[in-house]
């Protein structure tokens, strides 16, 4: 079978000759490794390699998409994609114009796959021993995975981009059990290829394990409305779920009612609130030079001084909304077409210290760390890995994990304090349209939200 470079060479001219209004190809070669622990022992270690690609064609506003592992017979794949697009297309093809790019992006990192599996295993052994040293612990689960891939993007308008992409994730969780009750706590991080953040977690792992045991004797919060303070990690998940997804234009561009709700200039929060999505920040998991349509990455203000000022676009959504493309079309891998996605999304820091933020709270909830989050566009939920009561301006007793929920359109308005301690969380993965987990990062300083609904026992 040809390698991706020779397959790409074949495609350059063929794409230009296509009858489609626009056609592009993605080719990809990847290596992955993973190690998982369940309990004291290593459960699974494996290595994998994959080669594949796709062709995406646009005819009269209709899309055809063909993905494959077999790189032989590319002309037939092109033909099929164009045939599909033709069957769909009944309107006019509209894509925001971009300059064709020819570029080879150099890899900034050594591949984490170059580090021997045995060395990674040794490190995970250390963490697992820390977890198992904790009295009262039932078991542990650890999952490490890394991947390195080379991608080639080429289009009928003459773009040819080679880009590498490296990703590392590590998730650890400790499980405590007693009296028919099971509680868990977790730690999750990721990196854009640099392995060194994985090496310095000894203290955090110890705290995580102790927290799982402490949860067994922790009470459940009483369900209801509270003033809630979120730590930077959880506030990052909050901004991603409670607002970020709504700024993805593919939800909005063909829906007149949503366009009305999301009109630029609309007030979403206080004057102190600024929200940004940027793939241009160096070294974060959501960062890149070009998106999967060959559009250069940008920094986009979504909210400025509380008002909606921008949104995330693919070339199609930008054209149909008469706005500039932002370089946010991303695909999980060659099996999927690019769709509008976030990159690194964060709330800009304000002035308040943590002590200022909690000072005036008589009874509230301090929620830290994340389990997960999801949104329906109107409503969002997200869950905290750790939670504490706030009583008379002080952090009080630990609570069992809490789930918070709210309305996207009102909750941002209820942010009444923004801290000065921005921190980016690299441990998340985002899911949309069956594409999960896409590497993203989220961030925020500590924030305070009044009247947030908390689920309890």
């Amino acid at each position: 079978m040809p390698d991706i470079k020779s397959a790409a060479a074949q495609l350059v001219e063929t794409l230009k000759e296509s009858k489609a209004d626009y056609i592009e190809a993605h080719l990809e070669e990847s290596q992955r490794s993973h190690i998982t622990y369940r309990g004291r022992e290593l459960e699974s270690a494996g290595q994998s390699s994959a080669v594949g690609g796709n062709i995406r064609a646009l005819v009269k506003g209709g899309w055809g998409f063909v993905s494959f592992n077999d790189l032989n017979d590319l002309p037939r794949r092109i033909e099929l994609a164009v045939k599909q697009a033709t069957l769909v297309g009944k309107e006019e093809s509209r894509l925001a114009p971009v300059e064709p790019v020819v570029d080879t992006v150099a890899s900034k990192q050594d591949s984490p796959l170059a580090i021997p599996l045995a060395e990674k295993k040794e490190l995970l052994d250390e963490y697992n021993q820390i977890i198992w040293r904790t009295p009262g612990l039932q078991t542990s689960v650890i999952g490490y995975a890394d991947s390195h891939k080379k991608t080639i993007f080429l289009s009928s308008t003459g773009s040819y981009i080679e880009q590498p992409r490296t990703d590392i994730t590590l998730r650890l969780s400790a499980v405590a059990a007693g009296d028919g009750d099971v509680q868990q706590s977790g730690l999750s991080l990721g990196s854009r290829g640099d392995f060194s953040p994985m090496r310095r977690l000894h203290q955090e792992v110890e705290e995580m394990a102790k927290h799982a045991v402490a949860l067994l004797s922790a009470p459940q919060v009483k369900g209801g409305e509270y003033t809630v303070v979120l730590d930077p990690v959880l506030a990052g998940v909050f901004v991603h779920e409670a607002f970020g997804h709504l700024s993805e234009s593919d939800f909005v561009y063909e829906d007149d009612r949503l366009r009305e709700i999301m009109s630029l200039g609309k007030k979403f929060g206080s004057k102190e609130l600024n929200i940004i999505d940027s793939a241009t920040l160096p070294g974060l998991r959501g960062s890149y030079k070009y998106d999967d349509e060959g559009v250069p990455a940008t920094e986009t203000y979504l909210i400025k001084e509380g008002k909606l000022v921008g949104r995330l676009h693919s070339r199609e959504t930008a054209a149909k909304m008469g706005e500039k493309p932002t370089g946010n079309a991303r695909a999980m891998n060659y099996r999927y077409p690019p769709i509008v996605r976030m990159t690194n999304t964060y709330i800009e820091p304000g002035k308040a210290s943590f002590d200022d933020i909690i000072a005036g709270i008589k009874e509230g909830v301090y929620a830290k760390n994340w389990f997960g989050g999801t949104t329906s566009m109107e409503m969002f939920t997200f869950s905290a890995g750790e939670a504490y009561m706030i009583r008379n301006g002080k952090i009080a007793e630990a609570l069992r994990p809490v789930v918070l929920t709210g309305n996207v359109f009102t909750t941002l308005n209820n942010i009444d304090a923004i801290g000065n301690d921005l921190d980016m969380n690299q441990g998340g993965g985002c899911g949309k349209g069956g594409q999960f987990p896409l590497p993203v990062s989220n961030g925020s300083p500590h924030i305070r939200i009044s009247r947030c609904l908390v689920g309890g026992g």
Partner: protein, 433 residues
């Protein structure tokens, strides 16, 4: 595959090669019209070896790249988990019908028409609704051989159709939807449209829920989103082996209401999750999990079964990695009570169709807490409208310990679960009203 097996046997005492090849075509609609057609061809080869008693594992998409596949597997076997099991020898499998050539043959034009008809039925009822829909057909070929002479091969067809409608008024949003899948082509969009239209009818009027303890009916979709994630984890033989399942020590004991029975069944004809054998070549079987409230069994693959001193239940599934115990299709036994009678029994309570975020909490412990994405208020025995800004929280083991009634009519949810509605006497509800 035979070549890989033969080469792997030269360095390892046992080996197994597993291959999945799939062709998938889907027709997708956005904002009520055809937008996208996709087809995906994929090949996935996995090699599992036992070398000096330890497991090694590697995968690739390239059939020709035998050398690196084997060297990758050998490298992981240096410190892999000690293998406690033997690969199964050649055996016979139950005959289960899961392939219909009519799926592969379904023309794109027909799939397009099916989607259009479904959308028209729904927009005919509610003109301002915007629908996303998808119609897809898959053909999957699975082949497995091992060094003990075991071999398995089968072909499966899957036809699926799904729709999600959103109705937006101001910043108020309502989401309704339904999906179906089968190994045969699906031809009647009307049945699916009727489900969606019923949701639209019930959600027409707004209603408010109080904060406190209320009786709740979970519809089949509600059962799937709130209760099932915890049960899947708890009945996994691995969780049990680790001591992390709350019911791990309760085999043979009554833990749930005596009206509750649950089993896993990969042998039902023409169901998308059915198969003659699991991904390790162990014959499929129906496995009882809860019998009249009593914990009857857990699900095992070969390795987990060996560690737990029991037999594999034929539940080894590969989600891209090594086989792990996974249910194929969970079936909850229907009971005696009609949905109407359950609703009539409630003075003030909720019907829950979908809970958002319920799987984000302490699943191991059975806790769930989620926002009612689609749910209705019941007043004096009647559904009066849709509730919003409402959270429901509980614990699966407490909820299923005492169930007021089990519904008489079971439905498939997402191809993976077949369940009737469940009526629970009280659940914690927090609401903004």
């Amino acid at each position: 595959m035979e070549k890989i097996l033969a080469l792997a046997r030269k360095t390892a005492e046992a080996a197994e090669v597993f291959e999945v090849a799939a062709e998938e075509t889907s027709v997708q609609f956005e904002t009520n019209r055809l937008k996208h057609i996709e087809s995906k061809q994929s090949t996935h080869l996995a090699l599992r070896i036992i070398k000096e008693g330890r497991l090694g594992y590697a995968t690739t998409t390239e059939r020709d790249d035998v050398k690196s596949l084997i060297s990758n597997a050998v490298e992981t076997a240096w410190f892999g988990m000690p293998a406690r099991f033997e690969l199964p020898a050649l055996s016979s499998y139950p005959q289960i019908e899961i392939f219909d050539p009519a799926v592969e043959a379904a023309p794109l034009e027909e799939m397009d028409k099916l989607g259009q008809e479904l959308i028209e039925l729904i927009t005919g009822h509610t003109p301002e609704i915007l629908c996303e829909a998808g119609v897809s057909k898959d053909t999957i070929s699975v082949k497995l051989i091992n060094s003990n002479g075991g071999q398995a091969e089968y072909k499966k067809s899957i036809f699926s159709i799904g729709i999600m409608g959103s109705l937006i008024r101001g910043t108020d949003m309502l989401f309704v939807g339904e999906s179906r899948s089968s190994c045969n082509p699906i031809t009647r969009p009307k049945e699916i449209a009727e489900v969606v239209i019923r949701q639209l009818e019930l959600a027409k009027n707004p209603a408010s829920a109080p904060t406190g303890q209320l009786p709740v009916i979970f519809t089949p979709r509600g059962v799937a989103s709130a209760l099932v994630p915890s049960l899947v984890t708890a009945f996994n033989g691995k969780t049990v082996l680790q001591g992390a399942s709350p019911i791990g020590q309760k085999l043979g004991k009554s833990v749930f209401d005596s009206k509750i029975s649950l089993w896993d069944d990969p042998t039902i004809a023409f169901r998308p999750h059915s198969r003659p054998c699991d991904d390790e070549g162990v014959a499929s079987q129906r496995t009882s999990l809860i019998e009249g409230g009593v914990v009857a069994n857990f699900l095992y693959d070969l390795q987990t079964a060996a560690l737990a001193n029991t037999k594999s239940t034929g539940s080894g599934s590969r989600g891209g990695g090594l086989p792990a115990p996974t249910p194929s299709a969970l079936i909850v036994a229907p009971g005696q009570t009609s949905m109407d009678d359950m609703v009539k029994d409630i003075k003030e309570g909720l019907v829950i169709e979908q809970l958002m975020g319920a799987e984000q909490g302490n699943i191991l412990g059975g806790d769930f807490s989620g926002n009612v994405l689609l749910g209705y208020k019941v007043e004096s025995g009647k559904i009066v409208g849709r509730v919003k800004n409402t959270m429901v929280s509980g614990n699966v083991y407490q909820v299923l310990k005492e169930v007021t009634a089990v519904g008489s009519q079971a439905e498939w949810v997402g191809g993976f679960l077949n369940t009737p509605p469940l009526y629970c006497p009280r659940l914690s509800v927090a609401s903004k009203g």
